[in-house]
Subunit: 149 residues, 2 copies
DNA sequence: TATTGATAAAAGTCAGAGAAAGTCAAAGTG
DNA sequence: CACTTTGACTTTCTCTGACTTTTATCAATA
């Protein structure tokens, strides 16, 4: 018996393929279709549609809410995916700075975009005292990278 | 199924565009047209036509009353500074999204830069469970805005 | 003519219901 | 043990309706 999570994963991936790389789902609808609890969908997304695997996910709650999943086309920039994967889940400000310089040198981002990256992942923005700021920094920088591939 | 609030939002924005930046509506009339309660109009205005988002709203009650919505067009860097100043130290994801849409509409940022903003301030990146994520979000977005002035 | 007061015609407020998605830990499976 | 599945509980966003406040109108009165 195939595992439910894999069935759902395949289903969503089919949807994405059909829809040319971007799809908007309703959690409850899919849960109903596969006869499972809604949080199962979260499990699938959290484990199968991560930034490292090349997906950009955003969502909205409330009436008429949705989950949007975008497949990033690794096409020309596998270097970018390599970068994303090399970041891990914790990055200091200095290491982040090195990444940004690299992105700029390779002409993956413009000067202005480099400034935006810097601003977003600086301690000034994220907060100095936060004990898990390096985790947040890693998540932000990866999310930003994947969003422009 | 499109959300009512977004339909009404779009309707009003179209009116504003057609009318060159200022429009006067009657709450009851619009509620009747969209078959909803009048207070729905207040909800739309309170969440979509705020000062931070570049609108100035005034109204009169009583017979012949109205709601006047004016688009405040401050261009370029002065709009950025206006934004920075009007952002308090806490911003929800929804409000952040509204800012980003406006920045894009005013052509202050590109599509790619809008994606970067979105990716940087999303709950997905900052973390949903974090108690002070709205503070971090505010700090990040302000820092990013300042970086491109 | 000027004032008053009743009635009608707006818009505003706010709490609660409804509609989604998110979290987390416990239980199940192989 | 690692991975999957479940469900109770939480958070966010939207929509509704009862009630309040403000303004206009107009007839009655001073």
């Amino acid at each position: 018996m195939p595992k439910l999570c894999e069935v759902i994963e395949g289903f969503i991936k089919d949807m994405i393929k059909e829809a040319n790389g971007i799809v908007e789902i309703q959690r409850n609808e899919i849960a109903t279709r596969f006869n499972c609890v809604p949080s199962q969908i979260n499990y699938v997304i959290d484990t199968r549609f991560t930034v490292e695997q090349g997906y950009y996910v955003e969502s909205r709650r409330g009436g008429g809410g949705h989950i949007r999943i975008k497949e990033v086309h690794v096409g020309g920039s596998s270097y970018l995916m390599h970068l994303v994967n090399s970041i891990g889940n914790s990055v200091s400000q200095q290491v982040a700075e090195a990444f940004i310089i690299n992105l700029r040198d390779y002409n993956i981002i413009s000067d202005r975009e480099a400034a935006l990256f810097r601003a977003a992942v600086s301690d000034k923005a994220i907060g100095n005292s936060l004990h898990d700021r390096d985790h947040i920094r890693a998540a932000i920088i990866k999310n930003m990278l994947i969003s422009i591939v």
